[in-house]
């Protein structure tokens, strides 16, 4: 498991060098030009819906642990404010999740994408805020 986490740490560290590196890689690896760099507007399928909900589960798992530790006074009293603030993101996300499920079930791609993008933005902000508050968010690696 440590080796896996190390690999993911390397992958994460590469997050800021997309673009030029991919174009160079395309040439070096004899891949068709643009295969790694062109944007594709993927449909919001049940699979994509599942992925974003799984993403939220990963974050909420960390938040629940943080909340429990706060309740047990393992963490400093300031954690109460953190929990209250972080709960706000989840309250905002919850109705959007319900909407996304409905839109995907009805294959309403336009509204599904709008809601999907909102959820991605909320989860990204939530994760950033949570990490800054000292919440540990584990990656689910099997």
């Amino acid at each position: 498991m440590k080796r896996y986490l190390a690999i993911f740490a390397v992958a994460l560290s590469l997050g800021g060098c997309a673009g030029t590196a991919e174009r160079l890689a395309e040439g070096a690896l004899n891949l068709p030009a643009g295969v790694l760099t062109e944007s594709i507007d993927n449909p919001i399928t049940p699979q994509r819906s599942a992925q974003i909900q799984q993403s939220l589960r990963v974050v909420v798992a960390g938040l629940r642990t943080h909340k429990r530790l706060c309740e047990r006074a393992v963490l400093a009293a300031s954690c109460v404010d953190d929990v209250n603030r972080l709960q706000g993101y989840v309250r905002t996300a919850r109705p959007l999740i319900y909407q996304l499920r409905d839109f995907v079930a009805n294959n309403d791609q336009i509204n599904a994408r709008i809601v999907f993008n909102k959820l991605v933005a909320i989860i990204t902000d939530l994760r950033r805020d949570a990490v800054n508050a000292g919440v540990t968010i584990q990656a689910v690696v099997k």
């Binding site: 080796r3 896996y4 190390a6 690999i7 993911f8 390397v10 992958a11 994460l12 590469l14 997050g15 060098c17 997309a18 590196a21 991919e22 890689a25 070096a28 690896l29 891949l31 790694l36 944007s39 594709i40 993927n42 049940p46 699979q47 994509r48 599942a50 992925q51 974003i52 909900q53 799984q54 993403s55 939220l56 589960r57 990963v58 974050v59 909420v60 798992a61 938040l63 629940r64 909340k67 706060c70 309740e71 047990r72 006074a73 009293a77 109460v80 209250n84 709960q87 989840v90 919850r94 999740i97 991605v120 989860i123 990204t124 994760r127 968010i137 990656a139 689910v140 690696v141 099997k142």
Partner: protein, 98 residues
């Protein structure tokens, strides 16, 4: 990398990475430029929502695909779990013991 892309990497790329690690070859290691370049390529593909199988095969000559589809029952189970976990998280905090 945002949380969605990270989770996609963790879930969909894990089997590929695991198979590469288990090969025990000199590909493994952050100082190996081929390995790093390959990881970066795959990461980009995952972030863009592409199928990584053909790219991974082109890069490393092997790919063990993870689960890429989900049944309606599995989706329903996932949604039920998420709902329960969110409900639990949003319950008011218990009084601290200090």
């Amino acid at each position: 990398m945002d949380i969605l892309a990270f989770t996609n990497l963790a879930l969909n790329g894990a089997s590929l990475l695991a198979s590469l690690i288990e090969k025990g070859s000199d590909l493994v290691g952050p100082t190996n430029s081929t390995w790093v370049k390959g990881l970066n390529v795959i990461k980009t593909a995952i972030e863009a929502g592409r199928d990584i199988a053909p790219i991974a095969t082109a890069l490393f000559g092997t790919f063990s695909p993870g689960k890429t589809d989900i049944t309606s029952q599995e989706l329903a189970e996932l949604e039920a779990l998420l709902d329960a976990e969110i409900d639990d998280y949003l319950t008011p905090m218990k009084p601290r013991s200090d």
